[in-house]
Assembly symmetry: C2
Homo-oligomer: 188 residues x 2
DNA sequence: GTTTACATTTGATAAAAGTCAAAAAATAAT
DNA sequence: ATTATTTTTTGACTTTTATCAAATGTAAAC
């Protein structure tokens, strides 16, 4: 848990009381490779900090899996829309490597926000960070062709390339797996 | 300004002091149709609430304009990445209808956040809202074809359809203007 | 080491979307 | 109203990407 506090502390110094209140409510969870950390179909109540490992968010569209994000060490992961809006999730979260997570549930997090209004600053900052990430992904989808998107992924997110499967990467880039395979063969 | 306070108040009741501090720092700006409200190439220091009108965000890619968002009455608009990260803007904001805006500058907004930590809650809430909007747009770009994206725009954002030009809408959907025109002719 | 399961590549073909150029339609300016 | 300007549509053609099917490669399980 030390690593989570270091992470939060670098965003904003945490008071001892805030630290204690967080400590009381955060729990540890292990997720093995292939494990569905958050399932679709019900309201997602858990938010996770990734201490170690690799997760992805995906959902089904016309019978196929669409991966919409990847998350690593020091990232926050949840079924975002469902967690924030407290509506039924259509998004699944899966561990694609053995992972160690620190979790907090929705009500507990809101209790923290209520008891420590300054914690909203961290909430705002993290939401902004993930907004930027999404913006980057979205721009790549909007005006780049398959090859350009792939090249950008190579330079901006080599981690994803190394650790995710071709199929997951392809759907993340909004292209078919065959197209990605062909692009890759031409580049190397 | 009454309308802005009503908007904020419905997110969280504003204390009289907060209201006064906002009042001191918020100014009014008129932007005419075609006016560049925020230009690229320098750090964006202004955030606007749209009292009335219609704006779009766009940037240039391979010599062409790419529209990434539209914003209406009761929306917040700025060159998002530049404003939040205080980095050089690559995004322009243009009024595509005569508009009335309420603005605040970056330092003043942060003064508000400092003097009134609870205002971070509103900041978090609004960031989350725009995160959802972006997510919706991004998903549409990722796994829908041109026709599906257009049909979704018709049902989800008829306002955009009515008020934006074909070229703007096409680039927003990530397709060429000719393709959009052909799709439209087949549907009607 | 062989079998089984799963992931990736390759080939042939079809569908979707882009490009360039010109015509038509809609708006704005005089 | 007429002209000028901008926006939208249409046509011919090219490029990109998807799809389906099969082959190959890789890794785990027995």
């Amino acid at each position: 848990m030390e690593k989570l506090f270091r992470f939060l502390n670098q965003l904003m110094p945490l008071s001892p009381e805030l630290k204690a209140d967080l400590n009381k409510r955060i729990y540890k969870r292990i997720a093995m490779h292939g494990e569905l950390v958050i399932p679709e179909g019900k309201v997602c109540t858990q938010l996770y900090f990734i201490r170690r490992g690799f997760l992805r968010g995906f959902h089904y569209q016309k019978g196929r899996e669409i991966t919409t994000w990847f998350a690593f060490e020091n990232d926050i992961a949840t079924s975002t829309y469902s967690f924030l809006a407290q509506k039924i999730a259509y998004e699944n979260v899966e561990a694609i490597e053995d992972s160690i997570l620190y979790g907090i549930n929705y009500d507990d997090l809101n209790t923290i926000y209520r008891l420590h209004p300054e914690f909203n600053y961290i909430g705002r900052l993290l939401t902004e960070k993930y907004y930027f990430d999404l913006m980057e992904h979205s721009l790549s989808l909007q005006f780049q062709n398959a090859k350009e998107s792939y090249l950008q992924l190579i330079t901006d997110h080599p981690q994803i390339l190394k650790r995710a499967s071709l199929g997951h990467i392809a759907s993340y880039l909004g292209i078919s797996q065959e197209t990605l395979s062909r692009i890759r063969s031409k580049i190397v």
